[in-house]
Symmetry: C2
Subunit: 146 residues, 2 copies
């Protein structure tokens, strides 16, 4: 069970921009940072622009930035937007559909999955990241320390 890289990249772009709120970032820069296809990332970003998550500035010295406060970017919403295919199994050809009890259970499970994501915003993710970074940086480990 996997999400597409498309969704993965979308989240990474938002995280990247969320961590650099005071300036424009170029798509080329982000593609370089994550070592991914610039062309692909361009499409992901454009999708986020159309959806209103990211603002873009064309032309020389242009770039992209978050279009909303990270606290207003819901993770569930983003994933629902970027991940198109949520059909966990292929019921179209199955002979026991629609009388199959599995589909309902899977639908319920998927809903639970997305509801967890609905509880978080980009701001939460950025905060978690900071928490972890603090953990690593605050108190440098030394021999015998715990």
């Amino acid at each position: 069970m996997r999400l597409t890289r498309y969704t993965d990249y979308a989240m990474r772009v938002l995280l990247y921009l969320g961590a650099r709120p005071e300036r424009l970032c170029s798509i080329a820069e982000i593609a370089r940072a994550y070592d991914v296809s610039q062309n692909h990332l361009m499409k992901v970003v454009n999708d986020l622009v159309r959806a209103g998550y990211v603002a873009s500035v064309r032309g020389r010295l242009g770039g992209i930035r978050l279009a909303r406060d990270p606290g207003l970017v819901n993770v569930g919403q983003v994933v629902r937007h970027t991940e198109v295919d949520f059909d966990l199994v292929e019921c179209g050809t199955c002979v026991i559909a629609p009388a199959c009890g599995l589909t309902g259970v899977l639908r319920e499970a998927l809903e639970a999955f997305l509801q967890v994501l609905d509880r978080y915003t980009l701001a939460d993710l950025l905060a978690r990241r900071q928490d972890l970074a603090d953990l690593f940086l605050r108190d440098p480990p030394r021999a015998g320390g715990s």
Copy 2:
């Protein structure tokens, strides 16, 4: 986001066998019923046999049947067994791992997904199926009826 057909087929085999508890079924028969690759299904079934969900009888007049009561076959357990890859995103190459807040949230969401499946057994699915079948068969629709 999708499960593999491998998992899909595994569940279908269990449902098929659960609906026919009194006899042996051949893999060829089930493959025909669902119109899927017999070779692939053979591997899925063998996996279920090794895992103890299905009992197989070799040789002429052989076949397969459930090895446990449907009430003891947990859906979450089966899916965890058949679905190998639960890495929702590819963190291996990502530069912000392990300080990325996304992984924890995704892990939590996945856990919620599986916990829903953990609440159901094969018996539940078969009962649901019966409920629906009843709905369709009990009271044949007639013109103008509601």
